[in-house]
């Protein structure tokens, strides 16, 4: 990583890098990769909960992007284009593995995947105790359907209508599953916290 960082230091803009990449400029591709690799990889990692798989999917997402970059006309933000492509790559992978991309509808919940409808307890409140690592671990333990919705909405910032479009579910289902995912995370985090408190 030499030229790319140097150019970024010289404030090569994303727009300039895109134009240069359209003409096959190797360093421009590297600049674009550097600009977006963390978000794309983080997305893949959160959705798969597997580092090696996330790297493969990151590679595939960027490959698809770079193969099509000559067709990019700037009607939408480049990052939007890339991240949507990355989401689709991950969803495709989940489908290949037979994992549920579309969350279960409300009326077909399973006992295992349904968060308990408790209303909080004073001694296990999470406020102020959610650190990044614990939250990462808890997300990794979510059922894949919940995880997809949670990562897309709360981590990546997609709106419910966009999620519905991406994964092929209703907006209502997306909202419902997000709430269940958050409730399940709360349960996982509280369990984790309680286990930690028991250990010497």
């Amino acid at each position: 990583m030499t030229g790319a960082r140097k150019r970024q230091g010289d404030k090569l803009s994303e727009a300039e890098a895109i134009e240069r990449a359209k003409h096959g400029d190797a360093e421009a591709f590297e600049v674009l990769y550097d600009l977006h690799k963390r978000r794309v990889y983080s997305l893949c990692l959160r959705m798969t909960a597997n580092a090696a798989e996330a790297e493969d999917l990151t590679q595939e997402a960027f490959m698809q992007l770079f193969r099509k970059i000559a067709t990019f006309r700037g009607e939408s933000a480049f990052s939007t284009w890339l991240h949507r492509m990355a989401v689709n790559v991950v969803l495709m992978q989940l489908r290949k593995k037979g994992l549920p991309v579309v969350p279960l509808e409300d009326d077909i919940e399973t006992e295992e995947e349904t968060p308990k409808k408790d209303f909080g307890t004073q001694d296990l409140t999470l406020e102020g105790s959610i650190d990044r690592l614990r939250l990462q671990n808890a997300i990794g333990k979510l059922p894949p359907g919940y995880r997809t919705i949670f990562v897309l909405h709360d981590v990546q910032g997609y709106e419910h209508n966009e999620i519905a479009d991406l994964v092929g579910c209703s907006i209502g289902n997306s909202k419902s599953q997000l709430h269940k995912a958050r409730m399940k995370l709360r349960e996982l985090l509280r369990t984790s916290r309680a286990e930690k408190a028991i250990k010497p």
Binding site: E30, S42, R67, F119, L126, D154
Partner: protein, 207 residues
């Protein structure tokens, strides 16, 4: 408002505002208040994970290698650098574009036939080197090199030797796997590279 009623609106409240009625319940019920606080903490904590991890350098190395192999990016030319990366991903578009380049290169080669090369020989040997000498050079290679400037001759001889070896490997591969699409693509790429070396050498040798 009861806790059950509050539960019904809880999901919307995590990302939205609370009204006076909800606020009143939250003030009077620590359980619901803590539940809402937890869910909001989870949602806000998740935003910090948006771009918190970095892939290993292996990922960029793989991307770069693949894009170079596909001809989408080309690093600065390096004398003696390997002409043919081994990792390839083929597509029908590549087959068509490769064939087009070969035909164009052959056309350019024949057009510049003032060097006296035999037309038929040129056509067959640009696409399939035969009758090579001990160094792997075909009679056409020898003829071509005689028109290249002495300064560039060694480089072109080296490139031709490499490309001829590549073609032989590719032809062997096709012979062993006649129905393997990738093997045929590989051979097509080899012919294309040879045509490109010829076209480049002809350009360099123009007066």
């Amino acid at each position: 408002m009861t806790c059950i009623e509050f539960q019904d609106v809880l999901a919307d409240m995590v990302d939205g505002e609370t009204d006076a009625q909800h606020e009143a319940h939250l003030k009077s019920c620590s359980s619901c208040s803590e539940l809402l606080a937890d869910l909001r903490a989870i949602a806000s904590g998740a935003k910090l994970l948006c771009a918190d991890s970095e892939p290993s350098p292996r990922v960029w190395a793989n991307i770069q290698r693949t894009l170079e192999a596909e001809g989408i990016i080309r690093p600065a030319a390096q004398p003696g650098a390997a002409l043919f990366p081994r990792t390839r991903h083929w597509s029908p578009a590549w087959l068509i574009s490769g064939a087009a380049v070969v035909l164009l290169a052959i056309g350019a080669f024949l057009y510049t036939s003032h060097y006296g090369l035999n037309q038929q020989l040129a056509e067959t040997q640009v696409t399939a080197p035969a009758g090579t000498d001990a160094s792997g050079a075909t009679p056409d290679d020898v003829e071509l090199l005689s028109h290249v400037s002495p300064a560039a001759r060694a480089t072109y001889a080296d490139n031709l030797q490499t490309v001829n070896a590549f073609i032989r490997d590719a032809e062997d591969n096709v012979a062993q796997n006649p129905h393997d699409d990738e093997a045929r693509h590989y051979l097509m790429q080899a012919y294309q590279e040879r045509a490109m070396v010829y076209a480049s050498a002809m350009d360099r040798s123009m007066p």
